[in-house]
């Protein structure tokens, strides 16, 4: 079948009951009423709960003067009420009240591992697209220069700046500092970082706001997001312990590296043996050995020989991530691996059903869409429980 044309799906909109306002209040004794607009007089925040309440811009979060306003809120000069400026969930840290949007553009934080694409080359720095509102910058002084990490940069390096990174090149880096205006400064001064090759790039939504980390998604939002089709927009890469790991793939694909940039840019590539493998155990590599490794591959734009089997599995991993994102499931090592296993399982199921039904059917088998993607999501959710 070459083409599938479906009628539009009318999503089942569960009508929200008016009582849902009540369900937002944490205690039934309505001591902690979050819907400030309805009953502004009564609205008084308890100091004991982490709220799962949802507010919209302009909504009064509280008018209790004991709270301090944080991100995502504002106060009018003459009143004590704190008003939300973004739609999202209310968070309280001691006496600080902030609203975290469910989805937003990536805001860089120090230490984030990001995948970025060079968009502009300047005389001493690169401008890098990291899916943030502002372009990040990567100074020439923040990269490993060939011929040893400890070498000073020279004017010759400035002249041949394009031989390190050029427009369009992808790189993995770490956020070194964040400027006043929110733009990030990156560095690649580690053997883990540098130019990317031997793989495919994928852009999904990244960490929204600052706090949509795994801890907050564990709550109501997280559970809801695992329902396929619903809660679109909560999926995406979240900050987690491991952003980079190696998958040993099935079907003879060998080892494949996955890099989940916190910013939602993802790189899936053939596992780089040698240099990168050694870098995970950096302690037993001598400085001179490292020099060699830096010079041997870090600025290469030539791909290694990659077998078709590996390419297939890389494509499968990429699709699994797409399925997760479209299903509104957060993307981290755990879910990606589960989705990958599920996709293999689904393949077996489908294979049994059709049983060499037609030779040409086999061709598009690797395409995960519609029913297959739903099945994968189901399996992922099942395992989550």
């Amino acid at each position: 079948m070459g083409i599938t044309i479906l009628p539009p799906v009318v999503e089942d909109l569960v009508p929200r009951h008016d009582e849902s306002d009540d369900s937002m209040s944490v205690g039934s004794d309505s001591d902690v009423e979050m819907s400030g607009i309805r009953a502004p007089k009564r609205a008084r925040l308890g100091n004991l709960t982490v709220s799962t309440g949802v507010v919209t811009p302009g909504e009064v979060v509280t008018d209790d003067p004991q709270w301090m306003r944080g991100h995502g809120t504002y106060m009018t000069p003459l009143s004590t009420s704190i008003i939300a400026t973004v739609a999202g969930t209310v968070h309280k840290t001691n006496k600080l009240l902030s609203v975290h949007p469910l989805r937003a553009r990536y805001t860089p934080e120090i230490g984030d591992l990001v995948v970025g694409r060079i968009v502009e080359v300047q005389s001493k720095r690169w401008k890098v697209d990291v899916a943030a509102p502002l372009l990040a910058q990567l100074p020439l002084s923040a990269i490993n220069l060939p011929g040893g990490i400890l070498r000073r940069r020279t004017s010759a390096d400035e002249l041949q700046i394009r031989t390190f990174f050029s427009e369009g090149d992808l790189l993995v880096a770490e956020v070194q500092s964040v400027h006043q205006d929110g733009s990030a400064s990156l560095h690649t001064r580690s053997l883990k970082y540098g130019k990317l090759r031997n793989g495919v790039f994928l852009a999904v939504t990244g960490t929204g706001g600052s706090g949509a980390s795994s801890s907050s998604t564990k709550g109501g939002v997280g559970a809801g997001s695992l329902r396929p089709g619903a809660g679109a927009g909560v999926g995406g890469v979240v900050r987690s312990r491991r952003q980079v790991w190696t998958v040993s793939t099935h079907n003879g694909g060998g080892e494949v590296d996955v890099i989940l940039g916190v910013n939602g840019y993802i790189w899936i590539s053939k596992h780089a043996d040698g240099a990168a493998a050694a870098s995970s155990t950096t302690q037993n590599v001598s400085i001179t050995r490292m020099e060699e490794m830096v010079s041997s591959s870090i600025y290469s734009s030539q791909n290694d020989n990659i077998t078709p089997q590996t390419r297939r599995e890389i494509a499968r991993l990429a699709q699994c991530i797409q399925v997760l994102v479209q299903g509104g499931v957060r993307v981290d090592e755990e879910t990606v691996m589960r989705a990958y296993e599920a996709s293999l399982l689904v393949d077996l199921e489908v294979g049994d059903d059709e049983d060499e039904y037609e030779e040409t059917r086999h061709e598009g088998r690797e395409y995960l869409e519609g029913a297959k993607s739903r099945r994968i999501l189901e399996l992922v959710v099942q395992q989550a429980k």
């Binding site: 502009e120 080359v121 050029s166 427009e167």
Partner: protein, 317 residues
């Protein structure tokens, strides 16, 4: 749809000269249409000369030989309806020149093409702003040339190619009903001329290219000039004014040295082509092959013109 943002135009829609009934109905001689007198595979002669515009880095001028009937009709005009027109165009190349500061870095030569009809080029007057057919031609031309230019030899630079069409090929004979075939067949001939001329001008500007790319046109024609049979016949380098009915036509930009097509534009129904017995090709394949043959013909002229200008330059030294 497309408004000129800089100048105030007159009311849209043009006026046409009055053609008096007596004029076109009385004398039968006045309405005789031009007939193709060439063989189906015979091309019109091309005049091509490079380096005529001294201020440009490269330039060329191209002219198709007018049909025999046109020459006769011009010498002895009988009707207000011109029997046919021939193609005349000038091409200038500016560059390679640095890209403007605001432009993003480009590892390749950035090509821009402008094709503009002179207001008086066609029977219906063209405005001063480029209309959609002129933009369309520009895109086609760009596709044709980009395949031939070795763009990475000239990083961070731009090349402007401007073509002014002084006299355009007609889409049909103006004595015919406007619905006889209203598709823009003449545009295809214009495109073929543009490709050949631009290629010569690029060579004149000393830009590296893989080969001289030449344009050629072939068409499937069914009318009296193709013989009595109604089955459409393949003809090369068709002048639309000479044919009552063109079923489909094809223009290619072709590089003989590599046997590659850089630009292909085929339209119309080519399924009913009558080929010689034993010819297994389908209609569109035959059409493309025909256009390639026409382009090969144009290429000989093109190569000769470029060599000629080179030799004359050497002679002057």
């Amino acid at each position: 749809m497309m408004a000129d943002r800089r100048r105030i135009n007159g009311p849209p829609g043009g006026t046409r000269p009055a053609v008096f009934a007596s004029n076109s109905q009385s004398g039968t001689g006045a309405t005789t249409r031009a007939q193709r007198q060439r063989q189906p595979s015979e091309l019109r002669k091309i005049f091509l000369k490079t380096g005529l515009i001294p201020t440009a880095s490269g330039s060329s001028y191209l002219e198709f030989e007018p049909s025999a009937s046109l020459a006769a009709a011009r010498a002895n005009p009988k009707s207000l309806i011109p029997p046919s027109s021939a193609l005349k165009l000038a091409c200038t190349v500016h560059g390679p020149k640095p890209l403007p500061r605001s432009a993003a870095f480009s590892p390749n030569l950035v090509l821009t093409t402008h094709v503009k009809y002179a207001p008086f080029a066609a029977r219906r007057r063209k405005g001063h702003i480029r209309d959609s057919s002129e933009r369309d031609l520009g895109v086609h031309l760009e596709t044709a040339l980009r395949g031939a230019i070795i763009a990475e030899r000239w990083p961070k630079s731009g090349l402007d190619i401007t073509i002014t069409i002084l006299e355009a090929e007609d889409d049909r004979w103006w004595g015919d009903a406007p619905d006889s075939h209203d598709a823009s067949w003449g545009m295809m001939n214009v495109l073929a001329g543009c490709i050949t001329a631009a290629s010569a001008a690029i060579a004149d500007a000393h830009i590296d290219c893989l080969d001289l790319v030449a344009g050629g046109v072939a068409a499937l024609v069914s009318d009296e000039s193709a013989g009595s049979s109604a089955a459409p016949k393949l003809m090369l380098d068709t002048d639309p004014a000479e044919h009552r009915s063109i079923l489909s036509a094809c223009v290619v930009g072709y590089m003989p040295a590599r046997d590659e097509i850089t630009e292909l534009w085929l339209k119309g129904d080519s399924s009913k082509a009558s080929l010689e017995d034993g010819d297994k090709r389908t209609g569109h394949e035959a059409l493309i092959d025909g256009a390639v043959d026409a382009a090969r013909g144009a290429h000989t002229v093109l190569a000769e013109a470029v060599r000629e200008s080179l030799l004359s330059a050497v002679g002057q030294l």
